[in-house]
């Protein structure tokens, strides 16, 4: 077999695996979010479709969305309207290229992995602005403007929060950062960085309390107000894909990725495969983000920007300085 | 319903003071006392604004819960009915004014109590009483192109019944 065919074969296999993972995620997380939110709100959630826990609910949703009419409103900016769902979906999948699911379970271990993540996730906002502008709706335009402001305000602390683990591990490769956490997870020495990353990550995800660009009680549905059916479900897929992506990156950077907890004895570590550890941590973070979403009210746009620029940015800078100061101490202690 | 002798009106202290003050300051106003212990003033529409202003400024009637119109079609008049309340003393007062039906205009009270702006929009909508000097006299419930004033007693709905888009069985 020629080498290019092998490469191509692997590429296709990996791509389909990632795509499968993303789709499965969406199916699972839709169900999980509904059940989880229902429990928080003292409801029972879906339970009829797929008794007894309603596990087929997301399948039913998918079939509903697939069978809906493809409506394009009359006066939209057609090209942008059609492109926006694709533009939002592609980067949501591309992030997974560098996510280390296990010691060898990674599509491509880029040596600038973390920069790649920061670059790719920013695309989401471009798609939101496209969708908001194209729909020719005032609510969606306001939503797009909010999203743009939010992106600028939160991208900076997000990247600065990442610098802490990068300094400690001495590499930009995500796999390298995970391997560096064998002795100790970085959340122990980087609690501030973790919190900043999670907060800014939630803002990037447009999850409550930062879901300003799709604030349903103010802007009806925000940027996807004129979308329906499959086009809308692309936004939905991208949202859940990004949710898992942010949790996975946070796991990788701060929770030791696929590493078992460092304090467990070696015998126990061997029992559970790394990918299970990774997924368990990721879904734990996903659940935490959902928990926050269903508890807090929404902030206002000026308060959001204040929080981003005047609080998170200084804190993340302080975190970098602190990391630099403590680095020799940590090395002497043998923690890293 | 003006009562003089039959029953003792259950006036509260504030109302009693206002009644005395009005009798003292404005002997020409001819206040009456209703069955429910309210002072009632009946004024001509040309005096309405002056009386209202005096009531607000001199007698502390700062709160106007209700302003409405009754259509006495047989007598050929509208009766404007303004309920006033003094939030500090609890005094109650009713301001009445007759408006001829064939010239249904009235000076606005929106400059006296801001809330009358919307009360009068409602009256204009429902009775077609035009309030002179009102800053924003638009219909409030019905569309501007609606014809007629539905709460007038002689209102006839000229519309034909709406066709029903249902198949006959």
């Amino acid at each position: 077999m020629p080498a290019w065919l092998v490469t191509l074969g692997w590429a296709v296999l990996k791509a389909s695996l990632i795509l499968g993972f993303v789709l499965f995620n969406a199916l699972f997380l839709v169900w999980w979010e509904r059940k989880f939110a229902a429990r928080i709100q003292s409801r029972v959630g879906p339970q009829r479709t797929g008794r007894p826990f309603g596990y087929l609910q997301s399948m039913a949703d998918v079939f509903k969305l697939l069978s809906k009419e493809d409506v394009v409103p009359a006066r939209v900016d057609r090209w942008m309207y059609v492109l926006a769902p694709i533009v939002i979906f592609v980067p949501a999948v591309l992030v997974y290229v560098v996510v280390p699911f296990g010691p060898n379970l990674i599509v491509q271990d880029l040596n600038i992995g973390i920069l790649y993540v920061a670059a790719v996730t920013s695309f989401t906002m471009i798609a939101i602005v496209m969708a908001g502008w194209a729909a020719n709706n005032k609510y969606s335009v306001v939503s797009a403007m909010r999203a743009a402001a939010q992106l600028v305000a939160y991208e900076v602390p997000l990247v600065l929060a990442v610098i802490g683990p990068v300094m400690l591990a001495g590499t930009l490769s995500l796999q390298g950062i995970v391997r560096a956490q064998e002795g100790l997870w970085y959340i122990v020495v980087q609690p501030l960085g973790f919190l900043v990353f999670l907060t800014a990550g939630m803002a990037e995800l447009n999850r409550a309390p930062f879901d300003l660009s799709e604030a349903e009680s103010e802007l009806v549905a925000g940027y996807n107000i004129e979308y329906s059916g499959m086009r809308w479900s692309f936004f939905f897929l991208a949202e859940f894909s990004n949710l898992v992506a942010v949790s996975a990156i946070a796991t990788t950077l701060f929770l030791g990725g696929w590493q078992a907890p460092w304090f467990l004895p070696a015998a126990v570590k061997g029992l559970i495969p790394p990918v299970v550890w990774f997924l368990a941590k990721t879904y734990f973070l996903v659940t935490v983000i959902m928990w926050i979403r269903w508890t807090l009210p929404r902030v206002r746009i000026d308060q959001l920007l204040d929080f981003g620029w005047k609080f998170l940015l200084p804190v993340s800078l302080a975190n970098i300085a602190l990391t630099g100061l403590l680095f020799p101490v940590l090395v002497r202690l043998g923690w890293i | 319903m003006v009562e003089g002798d039959k029953a003792q009106p259950a006036m509260n202290d504030g109302t009693r003071q206002v009644l005395e003050a009005i009798r003292r300051d404005h002997p020409d106003w001819q206040p009456e006392v209703t069955r429910w212990g309210e002072v009632q003033l009946r004024v001509g529409r040309e005096d309405l604004q002056a009386v209202a202003r005096a009531l607000r400024d001199d007698h502390g009637f700062n709160y106007c819960p209700s302003e409405t119109v009754v259509d006495y079609v047989k007598e050929g008049r509208f009766e404007l009915d303004v309920r006033l309340f003094n939030l500090d003393t609890g005094a109650k007062l009713v301001l009445k004014s007759d408006l001829p039906r064939d010239d249904a205009t009235c000076p606005t009270l929106a400059g006296v109590w801001a809330t009358c702006k919307w009360h009068e929009r409602e009256i204009w909508d429902m009775f077609g009483v035009r309030f002179e000097g009102h800053p924003d006299l638009r219909r409030v419930f019905l569309s501007e192109s609606f014809q007629g004033y539905p709460l007038r007693k002689d209102f006839v709905d000229a519309r034909k019944p709406r066709p029903r888009l249902v198949r006959q069985r």
């Binding site: 005032k138 306001v142 009680s217 746009i301 | 638009r138 569309s143 709460l151 000229a158 066709p163």
Partner: protein, 446 residues
């Protein structure tokens, strides 16, 4: 912003979009309107099938749920102000998730800041006062339920009190107590709903469902008492329709205990949440003078520092017998109006407990004939509904129907406040302000 682009001109008279509806069977449209075919255009202006009626005084627009023009504000998409500054006009409602029904606010926006706000109402107008003139007094009790459908008990009470004054009858003492209990339970239910919708307007979904859980418990009590959960038709002239069924006392006390346990939970979840505080404090400030002049009532007035509560100021149904506080907040913002309502729940619980303790024996139903013809006269009765002073002005001409019935509804005036309160705030605050006014469109649009 949105309108700055050039838009494609709307296609006028585009025939390709015309969908031919099938000819209907005889005896239907054809006969009535003299038309042979019905057309409806989609993706354009919807043409109502009856628009070419011929007849005197017929305006085709009468048939349409047409939006009344609000001066020039609607026609223009973007308005030039002061040189380069431009203003976007945005319609919030009548179909909007958080305008509490069918309120339409026409907002002038500069960026996201409000420069003008025009509330536009009437989308739920049901000719309520006209119906009052056509229905008998008994029927009007049931009709008044539909006014403020979240506080049906207090609506009925206002009307019943008015007619009782005309008839010169006094309800029995037990009936008075039952009325007080029902009014206060209604106030609790309404304020619980307010709590939930405020949370929802501010983006927190969970408190909404929690408050509805307790509201259901209150409605269970109402169902037990009157047989209905929302629209009770329970008050009668001279009393109430039926006495409390056995076991009501226990049921009500259970609900009160439940509420007292859950209220601190609400405060933990929402009221003292820092995000909630920054979203509400200092937002939508209504000054004391404005509140009085614009006829604000109830919690909106008390939130602006006016201690005016009809239950104290002009007691009815024996409210003077009960010991409770008038809840006042001084700051006049969304937070103040919210806290007034939350404290009122606690005061209502106190009143109900006192009323249950002192509930006298006797007949709860007045000895009033079914068919009444009040003597000619007029009366203005008012009660403190959950939203404020609910007044009912009834004129009788001696017949079995009211000659005129006017409802002074507090929400109507709270909506009028939206003309100036949101100006200078952001779009997100408009939602919070509307929520804090707690309008119910059944009574705004009448």
């Amino acid at each position: 912003m949105g309108g700055a682009r050039t838009r494609p001109e709307p296609q006028t008279g585009a025939r390709e979009n015309v969908i031919e509806l099938p000819v209907l069977a005889e005896g239907s449209v054809e006969e009535i309107s003299g038309r042979t075919r019905q057309r409806a255009r989609f993706r354009g202006d919807f043409e109502y099938p009856g628009d070419d009626f011929e007849g005197p005084n017929v305006n085709r627009w009468q048939y349409l749920p047409q939006t009344p023009p609000v001066e020039d504000l609607l026609v223009e998409e973007v308005r030039e102000i002061e040189g380069n500054e431009r203003e976007m006009v945005m319609n919030m409602g009548p179909q909007h998730p958080s305008t509490h029904g069918v309120l339409r606010c026409v907002l002038g926006l500069r960026g996201e800041a409000i420069t003008r706000c025009r509330p536009d109402i009437g989308y739920l107008h049901r000719c309520h006062e006209k119906l009052n003139e056509l229905w008998s007094y008994q029927g009007t009790i049931a009709l008044s339920d539909r006014l403020d459908y979240l506080a049906a008990m207090t609506n009925e009470l206002a009307f019943v009190l008015a007619v009782e004054k005309l008839l010169e009858i006094e309800p029995t003492e037990r009936a008075d107590y039952i009325r007080v209990i029902c009014s206060e339970l209604q106030r609790i239910a309404s304020h619980l709903l307010f709590f939930g919708t405020t949370a929802l307007d501010l983006g927190a979904v969970t408190p909404f469902l929690h408050s509805f859980r307790e509201r259901e418990a209150v409605y269970d009590v109402f169902e037990y008492i009157s047989g209905a959960r929302l629209l009770y038709n329970y008050m009668r002239f001279g009393g109430v329709r039926t006495d409390f069924p056995p076991g009501t006392d226990k049921k009500i006390r259970e609900v009160l205990d439940l509420l007292e346990n859950r209220l601190p939970e609400y405060h933990d979840l929402l009221s003292y949440n820092p995000i909630f505080a920054v979203r509400t404090q200092g937002v939508g400030v209504l000054s004391r003078d404005d509140a009085i002049a614009w006829g604000a009532a109830g919690p909106v007035l008390r939130g602006s520092g006016v201690a005016y509560d009809l239950r104290k100021a002009d007691p009815y149904s024996g409210y003077e017998k009960f010991d409770f506080k008038v809840c006042v907040e001084e700051s006049g913002d969304v937070w103040a109006r919210f806290m007034v309502r939350m404290k009122e729940i606690e005061e209502s619980i106190k009143i109900i407990r006192q009323a249950l303790d002192g509930l006298p024996e006797g007949d709860a139903r007045g000895q009033v004939p079914r068919f009444i013809k009040p003597p000619p006269g007029e009366v203005y009765a008012r009660v403190e509904g959950p939203r404020g002073e609910l007044g009912c002005y009834v004129v009788s001409d001696g017949s079995d129907k009211p000659y005129r019935c006017h409802w002074r509804t507090p929400s109507f005036h709270h909506v009028s406040l939206l003309e100036f309160v949101p100006v200078g705030h952001l779009v997100a605050d408009v939602v919070a302000i509307i929520g804090s006014m707690d309008p119910v469109f059944g009574e705004v649009d009448k």
